[in-house]
């Protein structure tokens, strides 16, 4: 395989992160926001794995961290879906724009 180096992978991670952030910021659908969160977490994972491959002292830890992040993502997705379910019960919609009770 051609040795690309660390930088392209970090760029990929950053790009994925930006896409995820944009998704969170712009999606009206709550589940869409969750997808954005998943994208962000995956971007972090890409970062971890890239560092694990190209930084020798980090070889094992990187991949372990990636696994931990996957588990965390799963747990957090479960909780978030529970919240969205409750939100749906109260508002009969998953449009987050209707959640304006904290308006000052």
């Amino acid at each position: 395989m051609t040795e690309l180096g660390l930088t392209p992978y970090l760029c990929l991670g950053a790009f994925l992160f930006a896409c995820g952030l944009l998704c969170i910021a712009t999606k009206r659908n709550a589940v869409g926001i969750l997808m954005g969160v998943e994208l962000v977490l995956n971007a972090a994972n890409v970062n971890f794995v890239a560092c694990a491959r190209y930084v020798p002292s980090f070889a094992l830890e990187g991949q372990v961290f990636a696994l931990i992040v996957i588990v965390l993502a799963a747990g957090e997705a479960a909780v978030a879906l529970a919240i969205i379910l409750n939100f749906y019960n109260n508002h009969a919609t998953v449009d987050v724009d209707t959640a304006d009770e904290l308006k000052g």
Binding site: T26, K27, D100, G104
Partner: protein, 715 residues
């Protein structure tokens, strides 16, 4: 408690002073309780009981009886105290140190200043009885008792549930209790003033009597004239009090004490203490005299007394004839060693101008109370003149005799006013001696006394004053006016007092009110008789025909501070001149008003402009209005304009609700509204839109990271 009260005889005076205060407190508490219980009288049984026990919607008469009993007891204690004091003073076995212990006492109630330092201001409460105090106290208490008894009858109008006030065109609840409330407070403060042994206590009482005077003049406060008169009295008094404060401050700074005895001791032992220059001593004296000027209505602070006749007649009798205005003269007598010869000359001239001025105005007044008011101002001028030329004894003797006959005159006037159904104008009276004989003849006693008829009390004091004035004037020829003025005024006094008596009591009734006049009930005529008897005989001495043999005068003289340099001049020929003046005044009044030989209207025509000038009280009110009142009012409106609207005068009453920065209101409004708008803008960040929160978070985090990167790169 009783043991403490009777430990020394001086404490009798303390009890006598506190009795009216107790009556005041009782009336005040009762009134407040009644007012508090009134809204609950339907629902709460206890409130209902208290409310109806304390009189319900009608003013309770028993409060007045309690107050009268208190002051009567005070008078009894005063007389007992006087007798005991004279006993002690005359007995050889009581040393002067013992006298101090038995008849004087003091306690410190406040120390103002750094603690532990000797130079802190020590405020004391104390009393010291000497001859002057004992006699004055007895006079005040006794005259007050007579006036309280008179008021029980005179103020009976106020016991109605709703009283109709014709002058103010309203119907209002009766205020019987309130009258006695303020009268009691007044008596307490006047008695406190008399027994005080230090200037600060005098000052406190001074202010308190001024406040009571304000309340009592403005008793019929629905009438605008009464409200204005009360304001005028208080404000003019305050001007005098400003001088008093200056005097007090100077006394404190250089003598270090307010106590009279200590000040006199300091003054007697040679030079002025603590580097006080003679100029400052003179200024201190003038300052204290200014206070007396305000209180005793001397020129130029005399304008409040005639207007003070808006109050009920017993108030005029007590406050503006016998006691409060006497406080000024009393203080001059008390502080006599503190007045340098220059100040005494000022006092004499002020008294001289006042007595002449007031007498000329009294010549042409038609309201019975105004004549008496100007007469009071004139007689106070006599007292000041006497004190100024060195006649300590004569001035204070005139104070005591004047108190009795002036109170009599005012009470008799009150009897006349009530008898003629609230008619006060002399033009509308006449022939009352047939309808109201007791009032007429007791008032005649008072008129004879004030005119200086031989063997009446006024004669003794006035004779002594004129002899002192003549002696002084002959010694110092440049001050001859100080004798001419009182001599001429003595004649004028006789004239206008007899004019008053003839117009009111002789001739034919000139009005329906006078036609249907009736004599007053005994509760009102008894004090008149008592005061008439005293007006005749209070200054008697042996031999009766010797004007300088007055027993009361000799008593007062025992308290004479005998200031070195204030020698008493006497010239006994003055008595004959005074008699001539008084007789000519009486004769003129008899011709014009008694026998109708000369027509007063013709005299009015021939006098012309002079008559108008006198009628308008020498235009003093207009003068003060133009010089002081108008600028003050204009200043007030100007300040209001700056506050409210920088615009024409008419809009100065309306608050500015704009943000017009040229008015103070506008600037403050701008501040407030600006803050409000900033807050409103800031509130928009809490939009409740989650996506916006995320966006903001994102942008902020990115900015933060960028800043960190820049720092990292440049470091």
């Amino acid at each position: 408690m009783v043991g403490w009260l009777l430990a020394t005889p001086g404490r009798l005076y303390v009890i006598a002073t506190l009795l009216p205060l107790a009556a005041f407190v009782l009336l005040l508490v009762a009134g407040c309780l009644r007012g508090v219980c009134r809204p609950y009288r339907e629902t709460n049984p206890l409130a209902r009981f208290i409310y109806f026990f304390l009189g319900g919607s009608r003013p309770l008469r028993s409060g007045a009886f309690v107050a009268t009993a208190a002051i009567a007891l005070s008078a009894v204690l005063a007389i007992v105290g006087l007798i005991r004091f004279l006993d002690d003073a005359q007995s050889a076995s009581v040393s002067s140190l013992e006298m101090e212990q038995r008849w004087a006492e003091r306690t410190t109630w406040a120390k103002v200043g750094p603690s532990g330092v000797d130079s802190a201001v020590t405020l004391e409460l104390g009393y010291r009885i000497d001859h002057l105090t004992a006699v004055m106290f007895a006079m005040v208490a006794f005259v007050s008792t007579c006036i309280y008894v008179f008021s029980l009858g005179y103020m009976a109008d106020e016991t109605e549930e709703m009283h109709e006030d014709e002058e103010a065109h309203t119907t209002r609840p009766g205020r019987f209790g309130r009258f006695f409330l303020f009268l009691s407070l007044f008596c307490f403060s006047m008695l406190n003033l008399v027994i005080a042994d230090n200037l600060f206590q005098v000052f406190i009482s001074w202010e308190l009597v001024g406040v009571c005077s304000f309340f009592l003049i403005g008793f019929y406060h629905e009438r605008p004239s009464a409200a204005f008169a009360a304001n005028k009295a208080f404000i003019v008094n305050r001007i005098g009090d400003a001088g008093f404060l200056i005097g007090l401050a100077l006394v404190w700074t250089y003598f270090g004490t307010f106590n009279f005895q200590e000040i006199f001791r300091d003054l007697a032992s040679g030079p002025l203490p603590n580097g006080m220059t003679h100029t400052l001593f003179v200024i201190a004296g003038i300052g204290i005299f200014l206070g007396c000027m305000g209180k005793s209505a001397q020129f130029p602070l005399h304008t409040w007394l005639p207007d003070a006749m808006e109050g009920p007649t017993p108030v005029s009798a007590l406050i503006h004839a016998a006691t409060m205005v006497a406080a000024g003269v009393y203080l001059v007598g008390r502080c006599y060693p503190m007045f340098s010869p220059e100040v005494r000359l000022v006092i004499a001239y002020t008294g001289g101008i006042t007595l002449f001025l007031a007498a000329t105005i009294a010549l042409v007044q038609t309201d019975i109370k105004r004549v008496l008011a100007y007469s009071t101002v004139s007689q106070l001028g006599f007292m000041m003149l006497a004190l100024g030329v060195g006649g300590w004894e004569s001035g204070l003797l005139h104070l005591i005799t004047h108190a009795f006959f002036k109170a009599l005159l005012f009470l008799a006037a009150g009897s006349v006013i009530l008898g003629c159904h609230h008619e006060q104008d002399l033009i509308n009276m006449g022939g009352l001696r047939r309808k109201m004989p007791v009032t007429a003849y007791t008032m005649l006693m008072g008129v004879l006394a004030i005119s200086g008829t031989p063997f009446f009390s006024g004669w003794y004091s006035k004779d002594m004053i004129l002899s002192n004035a003549m002696g002084f004037a002959l010694q110092h020829r440049e001050h001859i006016a100080l004798f001419i003025l009182p001599l001429v005024t003595a004649g004028m006094t006789a004239f206008y007092m007899f004019r008053l008596w003839f117009l009111a009591f002789t001739g034919e009734p000139r009005d329906l009110g006078a036609e249907h006049a009736h004599e007053s009930p005994p509760v009102m005529t008894l004090p008149l008789v008592v005061l008439a008897v005293l007006s005749v005989c209070v200054a008697w001495g042996w031999p009766l025909w010797d004007p300088h043999a007055s027993y009361l005068g000799h008593l007062l003289d025992k308290a004479n501070p005998n200031v070195a340099g204030a020698t008493v001049f006497e010239d006994h020929r003055a008595g004959w001149l005074a008699l001539v003046a008084a007789a000519s005044g009486f004769a003129l009044a008899l011709l014009i008003y008694g026998l109708n030989k000369i027509d007063p209207d013709e005299l009015k025509e021939r006098a012309g402009a002079v008559y108008d000038f006198l009628r308008e009280k020498w235009h003093f009110d207009e003068l003060y209005d133009a010089f002081f009142v108008r600028p003050a009012v204009a200043l007030g409106y100007g300040s209001a304009r700056f506050d409210k609207r920088s615009a024409p005068l008419e809009q100065a009453e309306v608050a500015d609700r704009t943000m017009n920065v040229t008015s103070l209101d506008g600037v403050l409004n701008a501040l407030g509204l600006g803050t409000l708008s900033v807050g409103r803008r800031l509130r928009e960040t809490q939009s409740g839109m989650i996506r916006r929160y995320v966006t903001v978070l994102m942008v902020a985090a990115a900015a933060f990271v960028a800043v960190l990167v820049v720092i990292y790169l440049s470091a």
